[in-house]
Symmetry: C2
Subunit: 151 residues, 2 copies
Amino acid sequence: MKISTRFSDSIHILAFINIYHGKVPLTSNNIASSIGTSPVVVRRLMSQLRKAGLLNTVHGAAEPSLAKDPTAISLYDVFLAVEDDSHLFTIDHKTNPECIVGGNIQETLTEAYHQAEVAAEAKLARTSLQDIIDTILVKQAQKEAKQRKED
Amino acid sequence: MKISTRFSDSIHILAFINIYHGKVPLTSNNIASSIGTSPVVVRRLMSQLRKAGLLNTVHGAAEPSLAKDPTAISLYDVFLAVEDDSHLFTIDHKTNPECIVGGNIQETLTEAYHQAEVAAEAKLARTSLQDIIDTILVKQAQKEAKQRKED
DNA sequence: AAATTTGTAACTTAATAAATTACAATAGAC
DNA sequence: GTCTATTGTAATTTATTAAGTTACAAATTT
């Protein structure tokens, strides 16, 4: 089972809200256009982000806002919000319990995979939404500077 | 995209060959019974493991053998053999390039995800097939000891 | 030669993520 | 207060992809 685009799209939503706040109406429709998906998909993700305490939304009004400072939201917080107990690696659960390997490999790999997952999660935990926003804005500024030179 | 059971099943195959070598015929059929899949799936994975230099096989004969010492095969080697360029996280490639966020988030997340992936891969690289085999055998011994006590 | 097994391609099935449809509930404009 | 725009969410459909199956040539062993 692989990690879906829900994670990427959720980071996108939060960054969009922060960057375009006060500049364009923060409707699920506008956000969906930026992601390239449907408004329902966006609202569904925003609902999960709200339940995780990362986002404030108003039923009926296009006024979402971050529930915390972007420096206080890590990518791992977002991951947990929309992927909760999904795993980076997949255990095969239909192995034969009568076999020495089949009967013990599930537990064994669960432990090994857990270590690798924790390492990845720790990296995500050390990257904040603010880091992502900063990088997006730097890349955009670079693009614009390059564009001006070419004109 | 999530990591499929191919990775788990491949570790299973290698551990099985090491543990049952000389004890049962190492046919794709027997290995498949332990994993709970079909012989073709096993042969397909063994083919990839062979191409990656981890396994020796003989066309027509049930005599597969590890191409390296189990201490010299890491889980990351196995991962690369059967999942090659698959990623733990998925970038959404249909974001709108006209948007500041949509136009820069793909690159930005590629970098962030890469760091997390490398952390996980490093952990996998530090775990050897021998570690997995040892753990399987210890767990099996514990089971058998417990079973004897109950009798 | 016969029986067994591997290697691989082509195809089908199953699982699951994503998208869509539909509609009730809320908010804001007038 | 009514109209319009919007959110929130359930139910369904579609698309994608991993897994499983079928088929058969090539190699091995007896």
